[in-house]
């Protein structure tokens, strides 16, 4: 069984959602690559975490439902887990970055005070 045998109610939303997921992933990764400082760069991958992951998971849900012939909602597990874990990751990374910036600033100021 290949993707050519899928019914129309899977392929039309699946096409739109897959293209959306691809474009969003691409924009997010270019943001990760090209933005200037760390706090701007954090915005890029969160697009992947939300829109692209959601669109791909809905497509996967549609396709596996069409294969099995009954509604399959296992993919909601990943959606739930990603939507719970992404903010925690973001907050912990932000705290680490703020702490490290502050520590570096304090060290620089102390070094300047010793030299003058």
């Amino acid at each position: 069984m290949t993707t050519a045998t899928l019914p129309l109610w899977v392929t039309i939303p699946g096409t739109v959602l897959l293209v959306l997921a691809g474009v969003t992933t691409l924009i997010g990764s270019f943001g990760l690559l090209r933005l200037r400082d760390f706090f701007s760069r954090m915005h890029g991958p969160s697009m992947t975490n939300t829109v692209a992951a959601g669109a791909t998971l809905v497509t996967s849900m549609l396709v596996s439902s069409a294969i099995a012939g009954r509604p399959i909602i296992h993919e909601l597990l990943i959606t739930l887990f990603v939507s719970m874990s992404a903010p925690i990751t973001a907050i912990m990374l932000l705290q680490a970055a703020l702490y490290r910036n502050k520590a570096r600033h304090t060290r620089d100021v102390a070094a300047d005070g010793n030299s003058t």
């Binding site: 992947t48 497509t59 990603v82 680490a96 702490y99």
Partner: protein, 93 residues
């Protein structure tokens, strides 16, 4: 219409592959440790999306379990690394 679905699948996989390459570049050139951890986070998320699209294109359900495991352990890894940056140790005594 199904052929268009195949093309959209191909497009999504190509976009995710380019995104993984960008994340890899950021992983190597990242000026600070937190940039590298952020790149690692986006890398495992892209790997999870790649596995899901592979599961759609091969129409098998085995890829779903791998994607779930990647989501679980990638989160644990990122939190452990961020905590190491913040405190200097992962598990506090």
């Amino acid at each position: 219409m199904s052929a268009v679905f195949g093309y959209a699948l191909w497009f999504a996989q190509a976009c995710i592959a380019i995104a993984m390459l960008n994340g890899l570049v950021r992983l190597f050139i990242g000026p600070a440790a937190q940039d590298r951890i952020l790149a690692f986070d986006s890398l495992y998320m892209n790997g999870m999306l790649m596995l899901l699209t592979l599961g759609v294109s091969s129409m098998s359900t085995a890829y779903f379990d791998m994607a779930l495991l990647i989501a679980l352990f990638g989160f644990v890894g990122t939190v452990a690394l961020a905590r190491f940056l913040l405190r200097g140790e992962v598990i506090e005594p």
